[in-house]
Structure formats: C-alpha cells, structure tokens
C-alpha cells in the first residue's frame, strides 16, 4: 500500500489556509507586503512566500508588484472580500463554540411539578439560573412526575424535578434534592383547624379529597403503600385532578386532604396545614433527573447550581 497521489477528488484538497488569507488581508489593506509584515509581526519574506503560494494554489495572480508597494488584481479584490468574510466566520464559530462549551448559550428545558414551583429552594434555583446565564434559552415546564419521566426518556426534556420510585433509573442520572413528607390540609373553618388531630385513627370518619392514581402513579403508590403499612384507609368523598385542584376543594370546605409538605411552602387562603407524626413518617424524596447521555454544558451548569442551592 504505497503512497499514491490521492485518486479520488477529495473536496478538501489543496491548501488555502487561514493563515495565508489573514496575511493576504493585511497585504491588501496596507497595500504593501513590508507594511503588512510589520502589522502581523512576521518577517517580510514569509509574507512574500505565503502570498505566492496562494497565487499558485489558485492559479491566479493576486497582486501587481510595483516598485512602491503592491496593488490588487481583480482576482485579488475578489479574494480579499471573500477572505474577510471567511475569517470573520471562523472567529464567530470559535466564540460560539466556546460559549456553547461553557454553557453560556444554548437551550435547557426543565420540568417541575407544580407543587414544587412554590418551594423557595426551587424558585431560588430558577431565578439564579436565569440571572447567571441570561443568554441560555431556559424553559420551565410545569409537569407531573410521570410525564416528566416520559419526556426525559424521549429526550424532549433536559432535566426534571420530580418524584421517583427508585433512584436507579436506566439511562438517567439522579440527584436527591430534599425529603418531602406528607401533611394534612384542612379547611380553616373546619373543627380540625381549631382542634388538630394527634393521630390518624381520629380521621377514620372524615371526608377526604383524593387524587387519581393515573395522574401521578409514583406519588400515589408511595402514599398508598404507607397507609397500608399504617392500616389506615381514608373515606374518600371527592376526587381532584391535581394538587392545586384538591387544595381548592379543601379550601371550599368539601373535605380534608393528604398533601406533600411542599404544598405548605406558600400559604393558601382558607387552608390550614397540619403536622401529623404518622404522615411525616412517610418519606417522599424529591429528585433531580437528567439523561446520562446528555452532555450539554448548559444543563450541567444547572446541575451545578442545584449543588449550590441544595447543599
């Protein structure tokens, strides 16, 4: 296998290097090889040679050599304009990629359960990310855990703040954010508000507002498993689509509800959040998750900020 002349007409044959173009621009702008050599801090013979190489590669004279400097031929003028554009383009690409590599530009989408949008740490995270990386297109989607997981897997979501049934998700990386637990939400006007129950069994006959399993299976199953362990079965009188709906029903006095502690992050009119040992014992870990194959620096900056915000 000897080294023959490349038989197939590769599109990238022949020099015309950036350096030559840059030199040529200097020559064109100064109108003199010597002056250009001073400008680019390169000896004059080097420029003479590079320009000549350029002329040979293109098969065209680019300069008219006079006793006092040089002038451009028509081909030289054409090349000059093109060369300026080409070099500009290169620096654009360099800065663009450098920024991209540092996560200063790009795109990140983050899913957050509506409930946790109100948690101070999360709100803090969003605000600080926007402040620190203003040029990144940062999209926040209010989504339940299930859809988040789906969209993370299919790649339409870069990261998610959600409940998981396990820290070990194939194809995903996870990081524990905090431990939620459960609380009791009661109407402010109800007897429970003035006389808080101290154990779950007291609530045997209470009217409960409950969620659908299909909406958020991970959360639902976890809660139900806990209740089975406790041997408690709530008497459900009303169902609500999501946590916000459920809470509004509680506020309306339709019943009481079991909700994630995150819900109490901001006060809601007409609702009192009550602490119960048996509910607080239900550990509800909140996770950050992202595709392990996703290496976008903008995403990892977000993850880094999570480290800052959630110690």
């Amino acid at each position: 296998m000897d080294r023959v002349r490349d038989p197939h007409p590769d599109e990238t044959r022949g020099p015309v290097e950036f350096r030559q173009l840059s030199y040529f621009i200097a020559v064109a702008e100064t109108g003199s090889i010597s002056a250009a050599s001073r400008r680019v801090h390169v000896a004059q013979p080097a420029l003479t040679r590079q320009v000549r190489l350029l002329e040979e590669d293109l098969g065209t004279r680019l300069l008219e050599r006079h006793a006092r400097g040089v002038s451009l031929t028509v081909a030289g003028q054409a090349l000059f304009e093109e060369a300026v554009q080409l070099l500009d383009r290169r620096t654009q690409i360099r800065t663009r990629l450098t920024s991209l590599g540092q996560g200063l530009i790009g795109k990140v989408s983050l899913g957050v359960t509506v409930t946790h949008l109100w948690v101070p740490e999360v709100a803090n995270l969003l605000r600080r990310y926007r402040d620190r990386y203003p040029r990144v297109a940062f999209e926040v989607f209010p989504l339940l855990s299930g859809p988040q997981l789906e969209r993370l897997r299919e790649g339409s979501l870069d990261a998610g703040i959600l409940y998981l049934d396990s820290a070990d998700q194939p194809g995903l990386e996870t990081r524990l954010l905090q431990h939620d637990h459960l609380m009791l939400a009661v109407p402010e006007a109800s007897p429970w508000a003035s006389a808080p129950p101290n154990c779950l069994s007291v609530l045997k006959e209470a009217d409960f507002v409950w969620g659908f399993r299909s909406v958020s299976p991970v959360y639902y199953d976890r809660v139900m498993a806990h209740f089975q362990r406790l041997g408690f079965e709530p008497r459900v009188v009303q169902y609500g689509a999501d946590n916000i709906t459920i809470l509004s029903m509680v506020a309306a006095g339709l019943g009481i509800a079991i909700v994630p502690s995150a819900s109490s992050a901001h006060p809601m009119p007409g609702i009192r959040f009550l602490h119960l040992e048996e509910l607080a014992a239900c550990d509800m870990p909140l996770w950050l998750a992202w595709r392990s194959s996703n290496d976008a620096p903008a995403l990892h900056n977000l993850i880094g900020l999570v480290e800052e915000v959630f110690g």
Copy 2:
C-alpha cells in the same frame, strides 16, 4: 527585541485550521476515529490528536469516546454543521477564484461604434467570445469613439473598438485592428449610381449630407484634414447626428455622403456605395483600446480572441 507572547489580541489568534475541521467532519460522519482515518488516508493517532487540539482550542469536548466509536456532544454537533459550511465556502472561493483567474467568469464591457457592429470580423469576435466564455457577463455598448475614450479612462468601460488620433494614449494600451478608408454613399435612384464619379472634383456642386464635429471629433477632424489636403470642400445641405441617420437621409434621396468603408459591410436598401481613389487614400485606422492597469483575465481573453480574429 525578544519574542514575547503576542500582546495585542489579534483577531486571527488560535488555530482551528481547515485540516482539523475536515478531519473532524470525517469523524463525525463515520462515527469513528478509526473509520475516519481510513477515509481521509491518515493514521488514526493523527486524527485523535487533531481532534483533541480542536477541543483544547475551543475549550469544549466535541466527542464522547465509547469503546465502540465516538458520538458527538452538543458542541460537536454545532461545530459539525458550521465546519461543513465553512469548508464548502472555501471550495467555493477556490473554484470561483480559479475561474476568475482563467477569465471563465467575471464581467467585461466593450464599446463598439455602431458602424463597426456590422463589420464581419467584429460580429465574429462578439459571437465567438460569447460562445467560448458563456459565463462571463459580456456587455457591448454601441458608442462613438469620443464617449468610448472617456469611459475607458474613467474605468466604466473595459475595452473599446474605436477611432483614435494616435496609437499612443496615456494609460491605455492599443492594438490596430484594421485600416478603414472612406467611400461615397449615393442614393440608388440618383444619376451618380448609374454613372459613378471617378474623381472628387466632379462632386463640387453635389448636395452633401454631413455629420456634426461634436459627435465624433476624432473621425471628423481626420476626414476634414484629408479634404483640406485635397483642396476639396463639400457643399453641405443637411446634417445628421450619426452615421446611421446620415445613411438613411442618403437613402431618402436628400443627398450624398462620405462614410467609412465599414458602412458598406452590409448592404442597405436604397444606397449604393462607391469607391473613389481619393477617398480610399484617407487612412482611417480602427483600434482596440483598454486600460493598461486592467488585468482582468476576462478582458485579456477578449484581447486574445482579437488576435485570433484579426490576424
């Protein structure tokens, strides 16, 4: 004067060479450094190093290295698209400049006196140039000698076929095309047509159609100088703006006219061209002229074709 680190932030600092981009494209398209090395006919370690250099220059990882090939990071994908465009651009520039250098593309404007558009050699020249260099924007302007000279000097005309009072024009190059002389144009219906005059003195009492000096001083002065030498002064009864107008007046029977021999190149209805020794003795050299500083290959191709057409 020692070699310190370049203190001023030159815009063309840092590599990112065409070669590296070309290698990177091969890697991206094959999804493997080894496969790419076979495609570009370069050893694998060389590619490994060039890609790494690219990554260092840009400060960004471009590839994810797996046991079986590599995959692009988001930055890598961005660079891939940019690199393809940049390399395409370079080859475009190369072909464009090569073509330009060979005069296969570009722009040429040629002035021709209306009279000489009908001369077979000139028509031939125009046709052959268009045939041989179809991609050149070739513009032919019907202009008298005076305006041609003006526009040649100011640069809005690349070449001209015209009369000159001297072959020696500052800033212009000239080439003799052919020797015109003068002829007599008479109405076909006139007595002169059936009984041609054999000397100028016979025409002493004839009605002449004449041109304005201001329209084409070079031509006019030359003719007048000749007539002064002959001691002949025509009796002018009518003036015409240009040669075509004059000839149409002759055809209409308004008088007879002295015209360049080139006018007889194509027959005109109602006109008879007559040869007279005294008129043929007036040498009217026809020139090709162009700016000596004009190095456009497309122009010199035209000049070369002139050499072919006019021996």
